[in-house]
Symmetry: D2
Subunit: 111 residues, 4 copies
């Protein structure tokens, strides 16, 4: 037996793993960050039960880390993500933030 809330949490996890592993490694600079933020959010919002996604690329961290070539490859240390998943009346809110140097994906609420 799987409850609707469990299924909703499973769906939320799929979206996070998808977002991260689709876009990790993308060349990104302070100038190109806004178009990447938007494309990441809109791409994942296509997936089933995904009500909304916001992606924030940390421009300061990016500016500090860019190498001589003026860009870096996207990793979790540069992004904060919030998502809202809706499945059969269950609303799941999730977030990804850095914690102890590790990009932690977590369930914020299941309602």
């Amino acid at each position: 037996m799987v409850t609707d809330a469990q299924q909703a949490c499973f769906e939320a996890g799929i979206k996070f793993g998808s977002l991260y592993h689709q876009f990790a490694g993308t060349p990104v600079s302070p100038d190109s960050a806004p178009s990447l933020e938007r494309a990441m959010a809109e791409a994942i919002e296509n997936q089933p039960f995904c009500a909304s996604v916001s992606v924030d690329i940390d421009a300061d961290a990016l500016a500090e880390a860019t190498d001589d070539h003026g860009y870096v490859e996207l990793t979790g240390r540069f992004i904060e993500v919030e998502m809202r998943i809706e499945y059969e009346g269950v609303v799941v809110r999730t977030a990804m933030e850095m914690e102890d140097g590790y990009p932690l994906m977590r369930l914020v609420g299941v309602e």
Copy 2:
């Protein structure tokens, strides 16, 4: 409030999204399928709470689909996946299979 079972399902979803979007698009042929199956499974087993992963690339479907160049890009229609996630005593079993031409990721059991 988030229960351990919900968290376990969230973790299971992360692994599925990761596996799919990390490896979709990989050039694969009947000859290279075994090494890719193994690498996919071992890569995702590195992730937290991931007890076991098995990946089966459908050699027949692959052989039929390979183009003049002798290979295709990996998509969900060629793979079946089973995973076992263990989180705080909760065991989640998941599977990905084709259903109506769409690669469906699903929760098989939460115990």
Copy 3:
């Protein structure tokens, strides 16, 4: 010995392989195609010697192919790409287009 023209062609190839394998598999719909086009172009323009990139996602092909979920995963059949690489005075123009059902990356000119 490697000539500047050969190096320029090598650089052009890197950009094509990068663009394709970074973004293949991204969920895309007619609505989200414009943001993805722009993010793909701006991401690759970050790379060294890459003067300009244009990405065109074929909205008609996309609309036809979208499944019940309203989106597809990006593959070469949906995109046309043009790039201009400049290396030590050599200008390389490249394009990706469908040819016999296969997304062909080709050198258009080396000057």
Copy 4:
């Protein structure tokens, strides 16, 4: 006009960009490195004109970098790659190595 040598260099670049952006971000540990090395090499060898690929994941660098979770995400700092491309009688040898902290893809020889 494009020469065979230029085309061969373009093909070589495509393979490097493909390899890097397909697999960057893959979870990897000292234990799973061998299966990933092999899958990366065999995947890219499927591509046209690609005679051979060798991938070496630096086990020491990996062991040092693994976090509390026992793995890292693959980036250029952990891998060395050699490839041999053959196109219409032209042989191109290429390599990727770290140089000043940046994973440099380069043409070793065109013959």
